[in-house]
């Protein structure tokens, strides 16, 4: 598993625990990897990836009826934000959407199409060292 994922451009580190049934993947700044690319690499190694906990840098976009999506624009990937969750997190997401501010968002992705993101934490995206 490690070899299959590490050879992808943009992967910084891979830690696999078969006992826990987990693969932890850390990605380099300015990578262009999508969840699907990572899932495909795991599948080639003979493993099916189920739910994913992710941390991403992205934009929040407001949709009708209070719905929100998170877009990691470098990836052309969109996640629908799961309704509910902590109200403080929802407020942070809405403020960022209005201010057009990028956030660092952590949460659990369930489903693949459409991908739904249950957001657990959100904060201003850290400044990149260029």
């Amino acid at each position: 598993v490690r070899a299959a994922v590490e050879r992808l451009e943009g992967v910084q580190a891979v830690d696999v625990s078969y006992e826990r049934g987990q693969a932890d993947i850390t990605l380099r700044a300015r990578n262009a990897l999508s969840l699907q690319t990572l899932r495909d690499a795991l599948a080639r190694a003979g493993f099916r990836a189920r739910n994913a906990e992710v941390t991403l840098i992205g934009d929040v976009i407001l949709r009708d009826r209070g719905a929100m999506i998170v877009r990691a624009s470098g990836l052309e990937t969109e996640f629908s934000v799961a309704p509910g969750g902590a109200s403080e997190v929802s407020r942070t997401l809405r403020r960022a959407a209005i201010a057009r501010q990028a956030l660092e968002i952590s949460g659990v992705v369930t489903g693949e199409t459409p991908a739904v993101l249950a957001v657990q934490r959100a904060r201003a995206a850290p400044k990149e060292k260029r």
Partner: protein, 35 residues
């Protein structure tokens, strides 16, 4: 002239991606063998 330069700079700023760093940073998959 300076007004035209300012317009070009403004157009370039608007065309640039706002957050070049939008991307996945960490992923933890729950995995299971497919055998």
């Amino acid at each position: 002239m300076s007004g035209r330069v300012a317009l070009v700079i403004l157009a370039l700023l608007l065309a640039a991606p706002r957050h070049a760093g939008a991307e996945l940073r960490r992923v933890r998959f729950q995995i299971a063998g497919m055998t």
